[in-house]
């Protein structure tokens, strides 16, 4: 049988039983679209997170108190040290030849009050250096003053969201608000930059590190951001930092250094796995579609018993009959998959236009995988009924059911 004849013979069959055809197309299309959608979203999430973390910059190190292993798994984001990292440590670190900037960080939720409005706001205690390292810019006012780290000053910067919560549309610059038990004057408003490192800068207050030590009643740093001097290697900076901290902490290595690469690598692995597993879950719906195809093909074989007998009498071999039924199933799966790919991409495009900051993209392996699973499953599940049709003895097939015509 020529392929063109085979195609037109199958198309005739499919259009005649349009409802049945429609249902199988729908099942296959939903399966394929689900794979594309879920992997597209998973891949989008991965890129989103990676982009966020890339903001940290290639030349930045984060130091946490306490020694943690950073290989094999997500590095610790919170460290509990045996010995605090003090402000003196931070100052000493900044004097290292391989380090250009060092910014301490203390973070905590504080009760913030302004004109009777009471909010719990994430409050960061740091220095002016923090703005350089994190590349934060100001919408209004000025940054933290360049004062010795140990000096507490009653000034704060506020994120736009926190500002809207506390002040509404009123002027915030120059106003006094209360953080915990202390009063602070607003000297600047931070530019909104969206989520970064899991923290929304727009919803935060930034105060001098010494003030934060008083409010939260802590001595040790939560983190220290270190920017490596241009020209110095990451490796060199690392060993210098470790050596210095070891010397300062009585010979004990009780800090952990995290690089962006380690962080990104860990997230990348996890998110890739996530994408793969949601894709696999979606692929199950394709297997369900395959079982549907098998049932439909079985019904088709039993309904067309007389036709099979006739075709054999007219000179079709078992091979031809099997090909006929297999190609019917494959044609269905192919059309369904194409519809699924079309609608999957359309939905992703729609989602992207509604939420432009979220990058969506279907990995090539998911596209090819969905297509080949759809076709493979159709071939696999149609094989059994098609072989059954091929084995039908022509005599019994012809007499088993009297033709309808």
């Amino acid at each position: 049988m020529r392929s063109a004849d085979l195609l037109s013979f199958n198309l005739r069959l499919l259009t005649r039983q349009w409802f049945r055809t429609l249902m199988i197309l729908l099942a296959t299309a939903v399966g394929v679209a689900a794979v594309l959608l879920l992997t597209g979203l998973g891949e989008g999430a991965r890129r989103f997170v990676l982009e966020e973390f890339s903001l940290l910059g290639q030349d930045t190190l984060i130091m946490l108190p306490g020694r943690k292993e950073t290989t094999g798994g997500l590095p610790p984001l919170t460290g509990e040290g045996s010995r605090d990292i003090t402000l003196a440590d931070v100052a000493a670190l900044e004097r290292l030849s391989s380090i250009s900037l060092a910014a301490p960080l203390i973070a905590g939720n504080a009760q913030v009050v302004y004109a009777g409005r009471n909010r719990e706001v994430m409050t960061l205690g740091t220095s002016a250096r923090f703005f350089e390292i994190r590349e934060l810019t100001l919408k209004q006012g000025r940054s933290l003053p360049l004062i010795p780290l140990e000096r507490a000053e009653a000034v704060c910067l506020i994120g736009p969201k926190a500002k809207a919560d506390l002040f509404g549309s009123a002027q915030a610059l120059g106003q006094w608000l209360r953080i915990g038990e202390r009063r602070f004057r607003v000297i600047g408003i931070i530019e909104d930059r969206g989520q970064s490192l899991g923290m929304d800068v727009s919803d935060q207050l930034i105060i001098p590190v010494a003030s934060a030590q008083q409010i939260f009643n802590v001595q040790g740093m939560f983190r220290v951001f270190l920017k490596v001097r241009p020209g110095s290697s990451m490796q060199q900076a690392r060993s210098e930092i470790i050596d210095l901290m070891q010397k300062r902490h009585g010979g004990e290595r009780d800090v952990t250094l995290i690089t962006q690469d380690a962080l990104l690598g860990a997230f990348d692995d996890i998110l890739k796995l996530l994408t793969l597993s949601v894709g696999a879950i979606a692929a199950i719906s394709l297997v369900v579609a395959g079982i549907l195809i098998m049932n439909i093909t079985l019904i088709s074989v039993s309904q067309r018993t007389a036709e099979i007998g006739l075709l054999k009498a007219l000179g079709a071999s078992s091979k031809d009959i099997r090909l006929l039924f297999l190609s019917e199933a494959m044609l269905l799966a192919l059309l369904g998959a194409l519809i699924g790919i079309g609608s999957g991409y359309a939905l992703l495009w729609l989602g992207h236009s509604l939420w432009p900051q979220f990058p969506v993209s279907v990995p090539l392996w998911a596209l090819l995988g969905a297509l080949s699973i759809a076709l493979g499953v159709a071939a696999l599940f149609a094989w059994l009924p098609a072989s059954r049709a091929a084995r039908l003895p022509p005599v019994e097939a012809l007499h088993g059911e009297v033709g309808h015509a």
Binding site: M1, K312, A313, L314, G315, K319, L398, A405
Partner: protein
Amino acid sequence: MIRLEQLCKTYHLGGESVHALDHMDLAIAAGDYLSVIGPSGSGKSTLLNMLGLLDTPDSGEYWLEEQQVSLLNEEQRAALRNQRIGFVFQAYHLIDRLNARENIELPLVLNGTPPKLRRPLIDELLQRLGLEKHALHLPHQLSGGQRQRVAIARAVIRKPALLLADEPTGNLDSHSSNEVIELLEELNGEGITLLVVTHDPKIGERAHRRLWMQDGRLTGENLDAESREGRTGRKDRKGSDDAQR
């Protein structure tokens, strides 16, 4: 053209063995017109399926055009069915989603004839059988007689050597019945070997050679004088047909 030697076929139905063909010997000459008459269950349908290569014997030999076809495999038998044998069934067995033209086309489609070569063959046959007007009609739009003519057209489109008709008039009124049988006889007149299986004595009587079957055996044979002459030497089919009319 056809020689059956000690052909046997046994069916097992619920623990009971039915000898559908019991050591059958039969020789059929090219261009013959035979009828097989017998009650249902006499094995005549089995004989037809055996001759049409739709069924395989348990034992014995079947020679078709000097070829022992009982040795062929399924693929080879399928090719031979397509090329040398035409079937006409009581229930027509037209595919109801295909129009008359496409139904007739099927054997050519199955053997992979290019569409360009198919068209003139079908056009010629449609015209010959007076079906031009119905070429694009679906089977359910045709009368019984027309459907059977479409089925006959499908059976002879490959110009087979052997035409097997299983109760070809079983579902038809007497007028259509006559038309169909005359068409079959006309084709036989052109040299196709025709074998009609029937339980209708009136149809069976028209054949030149009549076989009676019961319990898988031939129980009687009746030969027309003209036909016997024809088989023994002088191939004067036209004359014998005229004599019959």
